[in-house]
């Protein structure tokens, strides 16, 4: 470790010196090269860059960044450790509140969270908190310094976690440390949930997810994959079998379709299917893995979120000549992370804003060949606060496509609510859970993540997992 830090001057600098350091820029794979591979786009800061970036931090007396973080990571504390070259300790500091820093450092929308409220935002450039979080998490993993924390003595209590996505993994990690017995049930054959089936390799390498899961297993968490709670066993039966508490983190696994004519034509995918084939089933390596996916020459992805960006960038990597985003509002309203939109632009994705599909047109063999679209304009704000798109009469036109990915959002998968007595859901099918404790209407059952909020982010799911674990622990100790 000493070698890698040679020549770098560590420690805190006087404020004037700090302000002189520019925000470090992330080394990235060249756009022309990276559209032909599935390797990560950002390469990660060098140790020297990490120290310089950490030294920029003003170590505010009243840090705004902590409030901006959905799980309140002690950001100034971890950054101070980085400035002093204590990278592994910095990772451990983050893990006191966020068990998935290697993931969050890569996928959090920092510009809307910690970096968005950093005192340097606006007039200056905010601290690259995300880059630093990623750096220290990777450092800890690559230097094999993942510390197995001290596990409390066994409480004799059993916890069932349904779903191995960010919410479930966080609950598992927190409760195992407190001495409870934890079993995580996962419907798919690999653990990780959206981290493994939804987010592509070039944004979140699966080795990282595997190492998080392995770490939990090392701490004693039991994993049962290919085990669909709600089919092979219901939540009620879990209690009968002796589990004392159940956490439901089954996610937003119900794809939304447009409901327009022609949507069942060959070549039209939900984003879930397209990404699951590519990410979980590794369809991009057909030779080795055997799962097919239509590469498409002219691909249209409907939607403007991170999932849409993932899908269109995946299509380029699968060999599409043209990958287009078709979004009914404008760039300003797109919910995707700025970084992902920027990367997509660099890679040559075409953006068709203020456009909505009306129907799909197929050929005689049932394959989609065209999409009829209509131009939109922005009217008054709707329930989400964004300006409502309104069709412009007479602006219909035909677009040639051979593959379409519908990435307009996901709703909560209904399996658990359908098969569990006394579990209250709202009108969208999301499980109702208390804001602070994440407790549901059913005694002994907690829920968090997309199943409660509808499709949202990894960090929100992790945050919900933290809250739930706290409440579950209190409950278990009171039994």
């Amino acid at each position: 470790m000493a070698d890698e830090l040679e020549g770098i001057s560590l420690g805190q600098l006087p404020p004037k010196e700090r302000m002189k350091i520019p925000r470090q820029s992330m080394p990235e794979q060249n756009p022309d090269k990276r559209v032909h591979n599935f390797n990560e786009v950002p390469r990660g800061l060098t140790p020297e860059q990490a120290v310089h970036e950490a030294q920029r931090c003003l170590q505010c007396k009243k840090p705004k960044c902590i409030d901006g973080c959905p799980v309140e990571v002690d950001i100034p504390a971890f950054i101070d450790l980085v400035a002093n070259g204590k990278f592994t300790e910095a990772a451990w500091k983050i893990k006191e509140t966020n068990s998935l820093p290697a993931v969050c450092g890569r996928v959090c929308p920092q510009e809307e969270q910690c970096e968005g409220v950093c005192v340097l935002t606006g007039k200056y450039t905010p601290i690259a908190i995300g880059y630093l979080e990623r750096f220290v998490a990777d450092w800890e993993r690559e230097h094999d310094e993942m510390k197995v924390p001290e596990i409390a003595p066994s409480t004799g209590k059993k916890v069932a976690v349904v779903g191995s996505g960010p919410a479930g993994l966080t609950v598992a990690g927190d409760l195992i440390k407190l001495g409870h017995q934890v079993t995580v049930f996962e419907a798919l054959h690999k653990e990780g949930g959206v981290l493994v089936y939804g987010i592509p390799e070039f944004r979140l390498p699966k080795d990282i997810v595997k190492s998080e899961v392995d770490f939990l297993a090392k701490m004693g968490v039991e994993f049962k994959a290919s085990y669909v709670i709600g089919k092979i066993k219901g939540v009620d039966e879990l209690f009968e079998e002796g589990y004392d508490a159940v956490f439901i983190g089954t996610g937003a696994g119900l794809p939304n379709f447009m409901g327009v004519e022609g949507e069942n034509l060959n070549g039209i995918y939900s984003a879930n299917e397209y990404l699951t084939r590519s990410n979980l089933m590794r369809a991009y390596d057909f030779e080795a893995e055997g799962t097919p996916i239509m590469p498409g020459k002219r691909v249209a992805v409907l939607g403007g979120g991170n999932t849409a960006m993932d899908a269109v960038r995946t299509s380029l990597r699968l060999g599409a000549e043209k990958g287009a985003i078709v979004y009914r509002r404008s760039r300003k309203e797109m919910p995707a992370r700025n970084e992902e939109i920027h990367h997509a632009e660099q890679e040559g994705v075409e953006f068709q804003f203020l456009t909505a599909p009306l129907r799909f047109i197929g050929d005689e063999n049932g394959w989609v060949k065209q999409m009829e679209c209509i131009k939109m304009e922005l009217g008054e704000p709707d329930a989400s606060g964004r300006r409502r798109p309104v069709p412009i009469e007479g602006s219909e036109y035909i677009m040639d496509v051979d593959t379409v990915v519908v990435a307009i959002g996901n709703s909560s998968n209904p399996l658990i609510p359908k098969t569990t007595k006394g579990l209250e859901t709202n009108k969208w099918g999301n499980i109702v859970a208390d804001d602070d404790s994440m407790a549901t209407s059913r005694k002994g059952v907690w829920a968090g993540g997309d199943i409660v909020t509808g499709g949202a982010t990894v960090i929100l799911a992790a945050g919900a997992g933290k809250k739930a674990a706290r409440s579950m622990h209190q409950y278990l100790m009171s039994l």
């Binding site: 085990y227 949507e263 060959n266 995918y269 299917e273 097919p292 399996l415």
Partner: protein
Amino acid sequence: MFKIRVPELVEKAKAGQFIILRAYDNSERIPMSIGGLDRENGLLTVVVMEVGKSTAEIVRMKEGEEFKDVVGPLGEPTHIKDFGGTCVVIGGGVGIPPIYPIAQALKDAGNKVVGIIGARNEDLLIFEDELGETCDELVITTDDGSKGMKGFVTDALQKLIDDGENIKFVMSVGPVIMMKNVAKVTKPHEISTWVSLNPIMVDGTGMCGGCRVTVGGKSKFACVDGPDFDGHLVDFDELMKRQAMYKDFEKKAYEHFLHKCKIGLG
């Protein structure tokens, strides 16, 4: 035909449901109908016909080997009740095994059960004895007439109807074109006809929509809303087109697999 020891799954499974199999770590997930449930011994019967890479892998597995993943029971079970008349269960080719547990369940519910099974020739007929024991009557058809009645299952069904059998319910499992034709035969007589659909699937739990089928003009997911649907409402033509989506890939993967086998890499 083989049996898999999955006690927890077998305990929960009901006739009409299916499982998803993965032979090895980089194998595809493929759906398979349940051909038999032995709850005492925790054994599930599956019948697999080699038609491509994934089935070729499975068919070559040896006794004692373990599947990497067996997921289930998936889908909704067949809706069983006392129909107050004759129930006809129709199985074609690899569709024959799944009608066996369905026939048993219908019999247990107090129905008279007539079975019709068909195959291209007598060598491809299976579960004759099992169905012969369970059904009140079993009619066999072969395309070439090598056994039983020469013709299709629909011919046998038409004969039953013409002979005045009081049919209250028809359950049909087999190639899509067969199920389509069965529904055509019963439609003018308004006999409740259900079919078990087999679109391409990926996850099998309703999260990807790959298995969507159009039933009564609405889009449904075969893996969670089905696999059974009202045969008179299913868009069979669309299903056949969707099933052919990866034909070229499937051919390539199968050829590659057979080649690997030949040169000793399988």
